[in-house]
C-alpha cells in the first residue's frame, strides 16, 4: 500500500490528535518500525507524517552514511598513496636539484684547481665569478627544501654559471636543465 493511500484511509475525531502526540516519546521516532498497513486506521495524521519521515530517513541517511564511509576509506587510502607519491616526487626533485648543484660544484672545483695551478689562466673578473658561484653554491639551503628562496637562489646560480661559461668561451650546460622558453617563431619580432 502506498503512503498516499494510507493518508486517504485516515479518519477519526480531532481530539485524538493531541493525545497521540503526547504519547509519542522522542525515542520512538528514531526506532520507527517498518510501515505496517494494519496500523493505519488507528494512527493520527501527525503520527503518520512522522512515520513517513522515518521511512525516508533510512533512505536519506543511508545515502549520506555510505558517502561518509566512502570518503573515509578514500581519505585513508589517499593518505597512504599520497605519501608514497610525495616521497617519490620529493626524491626525484631532490635528486635533480642535487645533481644540478653537483654539476656546477664540479665545474667550480676544476676551475679553482686551474686558478691554483696558474693564477694567470683566467682574468680577474673570471676568477671573481668562480668564487661568487662557489659562494652561491655553499649558501644553497640543501637541507631546507621548504625555504621559499630556493628557486631564486637556483636562478642566481644558473645565471652566474651562464655568465661564467660565456666568458670562458665554453659551451657547458647541465644536461637536465630545461630552457625557460622554447625557440621562437621566425616571424617573432
Amino acid at each position: 500500500m502506498s503512503i498516499s493511500a494510507a493518508l486517504i484511509l485516515e479518519s477519526g475525531p480531532s481530539d485524538r490528535r493531541s493525545k497521540s502526540l503526547l504519547l509519542r516519546s522522542p525515542g520512538e521516532r528514531k526506532g520507527a518500525s517498518f510501515y505496517n498497513p494494519d496500523c493505519v486506521t488507528i494512527t493520527t495524521m501527525e503520527q503518520k507524517l512522522a512515520d513517513t519521515w522515518d521511512i525516508f530517513d533510512s533512505v536519506v541517511y543511508l545515502d549520506e552514511s555510505l558517502r561518509q564511509e566512502g570518503f573515509e576509506d578514500g581519505y585513508k587510502d589517499g593518505l597512504v598513496s599520497g605519501k608514497e607519491e610525495g616521497k617519490e616526487v620529493g626524491l626525484k626533485m631532490g635528486f635533480q636539484v642535487a645533481e644540478e648543484l653537483g654539476f656546477y660544484q664540479g665545474c667550480v672545483d676544476v676551475w679553482n684547481s686551474v686558478i691554483q695551478a696558474d693564477s694567470g689562466a683566467f682574468s680577474s673578473r673570471l676568477q671573481k665569478s668562480v668564487q661568487q658561484l662557489g659562494d652561491l653554491l655553499r649558501k644553497y639551503p640543501l637541507l631546507d627544501p621548504e625555504n621559499e628562496q630556493v628557486q631564486e637562489m637556483m636562478d642566481a646560480i644558473r645565471l652566474k654559471f651562464r655568465i661564467l661559461s660565456a666568458n670562458m668561451g665554453v659551451k657547458l650546460e647541465y644536461k637536465g636543465y630545461t630552457k625557460s622558453s622554447a625557440q621562437g617563431m621566425e616571424d617573432d619580432m
Partner: protein, 348 residues
C-alpha cells in the same frame, strides 16, 4: 634652422635592393675619416650588407656578411671608431666584425643569451657593448685586448622581451625598452655592479604598449621613445642618473607626448644632429618632427614637419639619419628594400 622655414619634402635618392627578406636594421658608419658614406643593413635573409657611395655618386653593395648567423639578423651597430660592426641575431648570438682593408671578418661571437638577440649598442668610448634579447635580459660586455669580449653583468628587470638597447651619447648610462611597455635606465655603481636606477613606465607618463625604440638628441639632454601605443614621447634626460640621490633628483622625466600623428605601430625613431626627429611606422610612412618654437605655453611641444606616405610598400622597420650629411636619411622595410632620402625644400 632657416631650412625649416620653407615647405619641406623627402625625396628618394636611391632604392637599395639586394636583401632577399625583410630588412630589420640600419647603421651608418660614424668614422670621421675615409668614405663619406657607409651604411650597414641587416635582414631576415641572415645576412648583413654594406653599402657605399661610389665615385659615380650612387650607392652600391660593397660587401655581404654571411655564413655566420643561422637566423634573422635583427640589428647592427658600428663601434664609435667605425672599425667594428656588431650584429645581433635571432640565433642567440651577437657577432663582431672587423673592417680591415675593405674586407669584413668575424672576429668574435658573443654567446650567452638564451634565445633571440634583438638589439645591440656600443657605448661612447667603444669599451662596452650592450645586447638585449627575448630572454628578458640585457648583457653588458667589455671589449678586451685582441677582440675578446667579457660579460661584465647581466641586467634583469624587464618582465618581457627587450626590444632595443641604446647608450647615452657620452655618459655610461644604458637605456633599454621592452615589450613590458617600460623604459629602463641602468648605471654602474662601480665594481661591475649595474643597476636599474629608473623605470619609465605608465606611472611616469610612459607608454601603454610595447616600446620599440629610442634615440637621444645630439647633446643627450633629451630622449625620444616610440611605441605600439601610437605615440612618440620626449623625455628630459639632462640630469645624470649616476648622480641620483635618494630624493629622486637626477632622474629623468616626461616632457611631452606626440599623439594623433600615427595610426599604426611606430617601430623606429631617430633624432638628427640638427634636432629633427624621424619616425618609421607600420603604416609604411616616414614622418619628421621638430620642436615648435612658437608654442605659447612654457612646456616644450613638437610639430610634424613632413609626412611621406607610401615611403615603402610595407612596414618601415628602421629610419636612420646620416651622421655627417644632416639631411640624408636611410629607411629599411619589410618590403626588402632600403631607401636613401634627401630632405629638401619644395621647389616652387
Amino acid at each position: 634652422m632657416e631650412l625649416l622655414d620653407g615647405e619641406l619634402e623627402l625625396r628618394v635618392i636611391q632604392k637599395l635592393e639586394g636583401h632577399t627578406d625583410r630588412v630589420w636594421g640600419l647603421a651608418w658608419n660614424p668614422a670621421a675619416t675615409g668614405v663619406t658614406g657607409m651604411l650597414a643593413s641587416c635582414s631576415g635573409d641572415k645576412t648583413v650588407r654594406i653599402w657605399q657611395k661610389g665615385p659615380s655618386g650612387s650607392w652600391d653593395c660593397s660587401a655581404v656578411l654571411e655564413d655566420t648567423h643561422a637566423r634573422t639578423v635583427r640589428s647592427c651597430a658600428w663601434s664609435p671608431s667605425g672599425k667594428l660592426l656588431a650584429t645581433a641575431s635571432f640565433d642567440g648570438t651577437t657577432a663582431v666584425w672587423e673592417h680591415v682593408g675593405g674586407e669584413f671578418e668575424c672576429v668574435a661571437t658573443l654567446e650567452g643569451h638564451e634565445n633571440e638577440v634583438k638589439g645591440v649598442s656600443w657605448n661612447a668610448s667603444g669599451s662596452l657593448l650592450a645586447t638585449c634579447a627575448r630572454d628578458k635580459t640585457v648583457w653588458i660586455w667589455e671589449a678586451q685586448p685582441g677582440n675578446e669580449f667579457e660579460c661584465v653583468s647581466v641586467l634583469q628587470g624587464h618582465t618581457q622581451d627587450v626590444k632595443m638597447v641604446q647608450w647615452h651619447p657620452f655618459l655610461d648610462v644604458l637605456v633599454s625598452v621592452s615589450y613590458d611597455n617600460s623604459v629602463k635606465v641602468w648605471t654602474e655603481d662601480g665594481d661591475d655592479d649595474w643597476h636599474c636606477v629608473q623605470t619609465l613606465g605608465e606611472a611616469s607618463s610612459g607608454h601603454t604598449s610595447t616600446v620599440w625604440a629610442l634615440s637621444f638628441n645630439s647633446v643627450g639632454d633629451r630622449m625620444v621613445t616610440c611605441s605600439d601605443d601610437l605615440t612618440l614621447k620626449i623625455w628630459d634626460t639632462s640630469q645624470n642618473p649616476s648622480e641620483t640621490s635618494g630624493d629622486g633628483c637626477g632622474s629623468w622625466s616626461h616632457l611631452c607626448t606626440l599623439s594623433g600623428y600615427h595610426d599604426r605601430t611606430i617601430f623606429s625613431v631617430h633624432w638628427s644632429r640638427e634636432g629633427l626627429i624621424v619616425s618609421g611606422a607600420a603604416d609604411d610612412a616616414i614622418r619628421l618632427f621638430t620642436e615648435s618654437k612658437d608654442s605659447l605655453v612654457d612646456q616644450p611641444s613638437y610639430k610634424m614637419l613632413v609626412k611621406k606616405e607610401k615611403a615603402h610598400d610595407m612596414d618601415v622597420n628602421s629610419v636612420q639619419w646620416n651622421l655627417k650629411e644632416p639631411r640624408l636619411l636611410a629607411s629599411a622595410s619589410d618590403d626588402g628594400t632600403i631607401k636613401i632620402w634627401e630632405l629638401s625644400e619644395v621647389s616652387k
